[in-house]
């Protein structure tokens, strides 16, 4: 008998992967704008996560397959891609877009097609508010990223520690944000929380996303003499930053600047990013959780650049979808939605949970200490240096270029 055991064990070890291959794979659809810095991070990060899970034997023996389509950042293209993922590719869940306009267009279709859909980077509060208002139809939509209101809150929290109580003693601010779906609640959030940290709001500029010449805007803002520019930009980024540096606008920039979250931003701006302070979900040098740095390193090894912010949230999304399918023990969309709502997953950006049906941010990512609170970094000599929160930032300190008045 004992002689037989060894071959049996070997046989089982050989058989296992075969069984895993034979089982019906889990398909996850990805819809993103592949030609944008933030967009391309979505399919790339999804592939990294899927390969990792598959290398570890899959989910209950099932492999994960990623089916990715480019939406050219167009709502119509994205809707068509979602229909294709549902009826032809038969995916179990979809990770889609970093643009709120696109995510909002997908939302009713996710409901009609009964397809659990997670946006890893669209911030508009409207996404989760609609789920709250029409739960029965729209419960398939999840926001795997912080809503604008929470982004604004994190900017105020960080600003209080870094530039109000800090050595700069900022007293006045102007909002510099792009006119888009996600910045409506963001600006409202800024306007509500800035006075609470003792900062007077002097002006709010909502610039058109197709602006190319920012000179008049900077000059107009400078005339009002705010101590800081609170940013809310995603579709613009390179151009205002470069023009800010070239014109030597003496006001620091602080806030949300999505394009600046990727390392390619330094090269795209020829280093003009020096001194820009921004909110990021995670960065490759800071262990927000034990998973952050290993993921960022394997992403960089594979693609040569660090993941932009939706890269981290997408990587996490693939993992918690897999976890939800495992817990649900079924591909049934209703059961999968239930399981997703019960998510409690340690991801690269923190401890991920979703707000329940009673909260106005139904199916939105929970914000706050102990869950996901974001991270603030500053571009310094080509690197993102973490400066907030203290716990993860260590001894990172704000350093502004010479032309910024606050530095003196």
């Amino acid at each position: 008998m004992s002689k037989l055991r060894l071959p049996w064990a070997v046989g089982a070890a050989v058989m296992l992967p075969l069984v895993a291959q034979a089982a019906e794979p889990i398909r996850i659809g990805v819809i993103a704008e592949n030609s944008a810095i933030s967009g391309i991070a979505i399919p790339n990060a999804a592939q990294v996560a899927a390969d990792e899970i598959n290398a570890a034997g899959g989910v209950d023996g099932r492999r994960i397959e990623i089916v990715a389509y480019d939406d050219h950042n167009s709502a119509a293209d994205a809707v068509r891609a979602l229909q294709r993922l549902s009826s032809q590719d038969k995916v179990q869940a979809v990770i889609a877009s970093y643009t709120s306009e696109v995510a909002l267009a997908l939302e009713p279709w996710a409901g009609r097609l009964k397809l659990p859909t997670i946006t890893p980077g669209a911030a508009s509060d409207e996404i989760t508010k609609r789920v709250h208002d029409d739960y029965a139809h729209l419960k398939y939509m999840f926001q795997g990223y912080l809503a604008s209101t929470f982004l604004a809150q994190s900017v105020c929290d960080a600003a209080k520690d870094l530039i109000v109580d800090g050595p700069l003693h900022v007293k006045t601010a102007a909002i510099f944000s792009e006119d888009a779906a996600w910045t409506g609640p963001l600006d409202a959030g800024y306007a509500a929380c800035l006075p609470k940290i003792g900062v007077t709001l002097l002006d709010t500029i909502r610039l058109s996303p197709d602006t190319t010449d920012f000179t008049p805007i900077f000059n107009g803002l400078e005339a009002k003499k705010p101590d800081v520019l609170i940013t809310g930009i995603s579709h613009v980024g390179v151009q205002p930053t470069v023009q800010w540096a070239n014109q030597q606008v003496p006001i620091p920039m602080f806030g949300v600047a999505s394009q600046a979250t990727s390392t390619t931003f330094w090269k795209d701006t020829n280093g003009a990013a020096e001194g820009v302070v921004l909110q990021n979900m995670a960065t490759e040098s800071v262990p927000t959780t034990a998973k952050t740095v290993p993921f960022a390193q394997s992403y960089i090894k594979r693609y040569g650049v660090s993941p932009a912010y939706p890269g981290y949230t997408t990587y996490d999304a693939v993992h918690y979808i897999a976890d939800a399918i495992h817990r649900a023990g079924s591909d049934d969309p209703e059961k999968l939605v239930d399981a997703l709502q019960k998510t409690d997953w340690t991801g690269t950006v923190g401890q991920i949970r979703f707000y329940g049906a009673g909260d106005s941010h139904t199916n939105g990512m929970v914000y706050g200490p102990g869950t996901v609170s974001g991270l603030f970094v500053q571009w310094q000599s080509g690197k993102q240096v973490a400066v907030w929160p203290k716990g993860v930032a260590g001894d990172g300190r704000l350093v502004f270029p010479a032309f910024v008045k606050a530095a003196n």
Binding site: N34, S35, A68, Y69, D70, H72, N73, S74, A75, A76, V79, R80, A81, Q83, R84, S86, S87, Q88, S100, E101, L104, A105, P108, R112, S124, D179, A180, A181, S208, P209
Partner: protein, 308 residues
């Protein structure tokens, strides 16, 4: 010979329609979902062809008319809850009114000047949608309370029927005496004028018809999607696609525009796995057709058969 060609075209179109009508029996829900917007798109391209192929005017702004129809219908439905039929009627009326407002000054001009004015009209409309974002939804787009139907088959046959009726109306118009006068006005306005035809009046009429069908199709498409956004209805890129579809299908044929439109939408879909490069491939094919077979799909087909 002429009547032979016409009847060939007629039987060909009928066969095409029959094939399209039978398609849902074999095609999956996804392919049907691709074809529905393609049919509306075909109406856009046919309306454009009436203006270009027959009146001889290069309209760079088909999306001005489409956008007026789509947003007109969308806004009244979203704000006042007028329901689908009334909203569509309002959007169409708005497109026709906008068409007249654009045509009156623009038709004094010709060639690139006319083209530029129509282009500017699109840019202005796009700016307006952004500036009055509280009414139009701005870049985010407008969500509507109503949709035509959530059933794919209903949507499919509705779109197909709408395309067939619009195509028949536009084609009949182009072959009617008024259409022939229009064609004369487009090719040699001076001579047409000398023959006693009121060129301006005929061109204005062509503009109004084009605006009517563009606006109507735009308004209906809004209720198929359930959302309106500048990127889907107004953006210059959409207008460019329409022009390409009409030229590709064969200008001055009306029906050819359907082939061009369906080809563009289907090719974009088939090549979707190419990702970003799908647009490149579709544009390259379209460029090759323009360089090698400038008469377009239908023009080449009719010409070859006619010669043989």
């Amino acid at each position: 010979m002429g009547s032979l060609l016409r009847s060939r075209l007629f039987w060909g179109s009928l066969a095409g329609l029959a094939l399209a009508a039978a398609f849902p029996l074999v095609g999956g829900p996804y392919t049907i979902g691709v074809l529905i917007p393609a049919f509306y798109f075909a109406v856009f391209a046919m309306s454009w062809d009436l203006l270009f192929g027959f009146a001889g005017e290069v309209n760079f702004g088909p999306t001005f008319l489409i956008g007026l129809g789509a947003y007109g219908a969308g806004i009244v439905d979203a704000r006042y809850g007028l329901g689908v039929p009334l909203s569509v009627a309002f959007g169409t009326a708005l497109a026709v009114a906008g068409g007249v407002a654009l045509a009156l000054p623009a038709l004094r001009l010709s060639g690139p000047y006319f083209g530029l004015v129509t282009l500017v009209a699109v840019l202005l409309l796009q700016q307006m949608v952004t500036v009055f974002a509280d009414v139009s939804g701005g870049e985010i787009g407008l969500s509507l309370p109503d949709v035509l139907s959530i059933d794919d088959a209903t949507n499919y046959y509705f779109a197909l029927g709408f395309m067939a009726l619009s195509g028949a109306a536009l084609f009949a118009l182009s072959r009617s005496p008024a259409g022939l006068i229009l064609q004369a006005c487009g090719q040699d306005p001076v001579e047409a004028q000398a023959l006693g035809f009121n060129v301006a009046k005929h061109k204005l009429a062509a503009f109004v018809v084009s605006a009517f069908f563009s606006g109507l199709a735009g308004a209906l498409l809004v209720f198929y999607y359930g959302t309106a956004s500048p990127g889907t209805f107004i953006d210059i890129a959409v207008g460019v696609q329409i022009i390409i579809a009409a030229v590709l299908g064969g200008r001055r044929t009306i029906v050819g525009a359907v082939l061009g439109a369906v080809f563009l939408v289907v090719a974009g879909e088939v090549l979707r796995p190419l990702g970003q490069m799908s647009t490149f491939a579709v544009s390259a094919v379209a460029l090759a057709v323009i360089l090698l077979a400038p008469a377009g799909f239908l023009g080449t087909l009719l010409f070859r058969r006619g010669a043989a």
